[in-house]
């Protein structure tokens, strides 16, 4: 049976800031599509969506989530595209016994040090990202790295994990500079990176920050002067807004490529019609997460948190977004990732035809194994 | 010169003036010919300063008629009146600009007509000021400020001067020379309205005295009749 006679899903996302275009309103659309495709109701009871802007502020995120849980009968919270916000909401949801299915945040702390029995990390994490990208770059001779890091949980985590990968491959981290979230002038940081003598400038940031940094590197002719840029977290929309002229050749890791097969294409085109842009991996991830949550509710016949969470842990996830995905006890959703490269302008056959898949990174390489996890729920 | 033959310069009829809600002038009438010097006498708060301000449009509301050289100015914005009326104003409490130095204060008022004094002439008339040319207005002594306030309207070429309590805070020695300045201006054909507390200073200078009470002219005394009407005057000016 269902609490309050309905299932309510909360989409808590950045609706106005740096991450707006990669998750934001698109995530709400994806959630609604999931509900529609599910049939609009479960066990004859309505499914509702509620959404809000966390403004990238963990306190706002947490207090919104608190009110959703206390006063608005929300059963599951998704999106959470900012690691600080995700950590605070997941922490709160743990106390309040509510499932969070974070699709947007990256920090591995969510499934490691601060893992929660009700927190699911769905699309990617800062361990999965460098495995493909950094490995490939170091292999191609990029031994010395300099990081420009977004100065909060996600950036730090991405930098540390990438640095570890680089060093494990015999590379070296020669420097780092932290830039505040939502910096609009990276020139000073870029010049510092340039003068460090590094082979690779690792951008441990995301969204608009990455776009700005890459564009400005182009203005200052940094790549032309012989250094490589490594976008550690790049979304489809970022490539789209930079344009292929600037972005071509950039390699990065992603969980989803919209035009990979007919199934993804079909869904993505439907999404594009409603949203006006092709889905990013996290938007597609919201669709998948909501769908699977509803499946679990339907199969167990309840929205009781423990029951649903247990069910999710047993299921093998198969849909247009994920094939053979498994949700581990620490909350990490284990699935394959892809190393992709941005096409040359000449290769592109359309506005959104931007990426070539170079290789697949199997789930067991991408994600921290249950043997190594620091999550207290596992060991 | 025979001012009473000269053409009329200023005619005020039935002037009413308000500050916000308070009605200060109640139908004031007054006429002035070119070259005349008159005084406005009255107790504190009788409305003398207000009369000058009303001429300049510095009250919140005024009605009636004020004509200068035949031009009606009752509805004119303040900044045009000085030009139209060739008028210079020396306010009560001096109105020296604290943030400007002496030179800047002196050169601030725009020229409204030809024939004003040059800066050099002015400094020779007020040597104290010359010494302090670069001093900020706020740093002048009270008396120096008073001199500067008069000096600066002599530069503009104005021929109608509205002088409000210019003797306030001045040492007797300065008062004397100030008296001489007014006399000289008078000889040069300036028309002057003096608002004065210091009757001893004003009496020998003026052609005519107006006594104001509660925003109306209650008495008008020609210089010639002054002795005869002394009694009346004292009654108006003190309790």
């Amino acid at each position: 049976d269902l609490s309050d006679d309905k299932v309510k899903i909360g989409v808590l996302s950045d609706m106005s800031g740096v991450y707006k275009s990669l998750e934001g309103p698109g995530a709400v659309i994806a959630a609604k599509m999931a509900i529609e495709d599910f049939g609009g109701s479960v066990m004859g009871k309505p499914i509702e969506v509620i959404s809000a802007d966390h403004q990238n502020k963990p306190d706002i995120g947490a207090s919104t989530a608190r009110e959703w849980i206390d006063a608005k009968e929300v059963d599951m919270i998704t999106a959470l595209d900012n690691s600080s916000v995700a950590l605070s909401v997941q922490g709160l949801a743990k106390d309040k016994k509510i499932i969070t299915m974070n699709t947007g945040a990256g920090s591995t702390a969510l499934t490691e040090e601060q893992c929660s029995p009700y927190g699911i990390h769905y699309v990617y994490d800062t361990h999965a990202l460098p495995v493909g990208t950094a490995t490939a770059m170091v292999k191609n001779g990029g031994k010395k790295w300099f990081f420009i890091t977004a100065d909060y949980a996600f950036g730090h985590s991405l930098r540390d994990n990438t640095g570890a990968v680089v060093e494990s491959m015999g590379g070296e981290v020669v420097g780092n500079v932290n830039a505040p979230l939502s910096t609009n002038d990276f020139s000073s940081y870029l010049l510092q990176a340039q003068s460090s003598g590094a082979d690779v400038i690792g951008l441990a940031n995301a969204g608009q920050d990455t776009v700005n940094a890459i564009k400005q590197a182009n203005q200052f002719r940094i790549v032309q002067s012989g250094q490589k840029l490594a976008g550690m977290l790049v979304f489809l929309t970022d490539v789209h807004s930079m344009g292929l002229d600037i972005a071509q050749g950039l390699q990065f890791t992603t969980a989803f490529v919209w035009n990979q097969n007919d199934e993804t294409k079909a869904w993505s085109n439907r999404f594009n019609e409603r949203h006006g842009a092709m889905p990013t991996m996290v938007q597609a991830g919201v669709y998948s997460a909501v769908t699977n949550y509803l499946n679990a509710v339907k199969e167990t016949g309840t929205d009781d948190t423990d029951t649903v969470r247990a069910k999710l842990g047993e299921m093998t996830l198969n849909d247009m977004f994920v094939k053979g995905g498994k949700i581990a006890p620490n909350g990490s959703m284990l699935h394959d990732m892809y190393l992709v490269e941005v096409k040359k302008p000449s290769e592109s056959k359309g506005e959104w035809d931007l990426l070539n898949v170079i290789s697949k990174i199997p789930a067991d390489q991408a994600y921290i194994s249950m043997a190594d996890t620091k999550c207290s729920l596992v060991n | 010169m025979q001012p009473d033959q000269n053409p009329e310069l200023l005619r005020i009829e039935n002037l009413h003036a308000w500050y916000g809600e308070s009605h200060i002038l109640h139908g004031l009438n007054l006429t002035l010919r070119e070259g005349e010097v008159i005084t406005l006498l009255g107790r504190n708060g009788s409305g003398r300063t207000t009369t000058l301000k009303a001429i300049l449009g510095l009250v919140s509301k005024r009605t009636g008629s004020i004509k200068i050289h035949g031009t009606e100015i009752i509805n004119m914005p303040t900044h045009r009146i000085a030009h139209v009326g060739k008028l210079g104003y020396c306010p009560e409490e001096r109105g020296i600009f604290a943030s400007l130095n002496v030179d800047e204060n002196l050169e601030l008022p725009p020229v409204v007509a030809k024939g004003g004094l040059s800066v050099d002439e002015i400094y020779s008339m007020f040597p104290n000021l010359k010494e302090r040319r670069k001093s900020q207005g706020s740093k002048l002594s009270g008396g120096e400020q008073q001199m500067l306030a008069i000096a600066r309207i002599l530069r503009t070429g104005a021929t109608l001067l509205l002088l409000d309590e210019i003797t306030e805070g001045l040492a007797p020695v300065i008062l004397k020379s100030l008296g001489n300045v007014i006399r000289k201006l008078r000889e040069r054909g300036f028309t002057i309205i003096l608002v004065e507390q210091n009757f001893r200073f004003a009496a020998p200078l003026a052609d005519r005295h107006y006594v104001i009470e509660h925003g109306q002219v209650v008495e008008q005394i020609d210089a010639a009749d002054l002795e005869a009407k002394k009694e009346q005057l004292n009654r108006h000016l003190s309790v």
């Binding site: 275009s21 932290n178 010049l191 | 900044h79 400007l100 008022p109």
Partner: protein
Amino acid sequence: MSMQVILAQALLGLNVGVFYAMLSLGLAVIFGLLNIINFAHGAMYMLGAFIALIGYSFLEQWFGVSVQIGFWASLILVPLLVGLLGVLIERLLLRRLYNLDHIYGLLLTFGITLILQGLFSNYFNVSGTPYPGQPESLSGVVDLGFMYFPTYRLFAIVFSLVVCFATWFFIEHTKLGSRLRAGVENPDLTQAFGLNVPLMITLTFAFGAGLAGLAGVLAAPIYSVSPLMGADLIIVVFAVVVIGGMGSIMGAILSGLALGLIEGLTKVFYPPAASTVIFFLMVLVLLFRPAGLFGKEK
């Protein structure tokens, strides 16, 4: 650290500094002459950038007119438009507050800032939209020997410096400055002398606003255009004006440039403090020279 690195960072600092200078100049003109703390100055800057952006990219999409206003045209048009908004704000709102405490002007402009920011946040991403209209002629790089420097940024530096010093000359070396100061100190008397004070005040405010708008256009090709671009800047610019000495035109220009440099170098030596170093300096300056570096003690 090599000299080259420091030189390169100094140049970038100067690049930031000219924006500080131009903005604090406008603020100083408005504060120094009108005694108003224009909190909306940052919003005017943002507005300048947005008008340029809309003129370039959105006219057709929004209004169905197929014109595109290029960068050079914006450089002239935008300051006029922002100045016009300044006229409206001054005439309709600020004018009624002159005889009240300073803080009401500050609060009013704070409110206006919220409105403008909110309006643009509804239509534009707060993290910024790129301005694509940078003129072709300025799109290259200049090889300075120790670094490649984008031509446009060099242009922005030179152009702003010219504007700043021209303004300074205009205000300090013409009678205008003293008339304005007088008009603010005692508007009634100044008008009684025959000066059109309301007009002077309106124009001054509009000029200050226009300067902010101009800075916005100049900034658009460098930074992405965002509804919040002015909000964080304005606080820094306040500090610049205070350090320079409130009301001192030259003080605003010089301290703007200097603080840009200092901030730039801080980014190299101790990046976390870059956004705060100015406030430390401000506290120091106020403790030892309360009227600011170039201000006159009252």
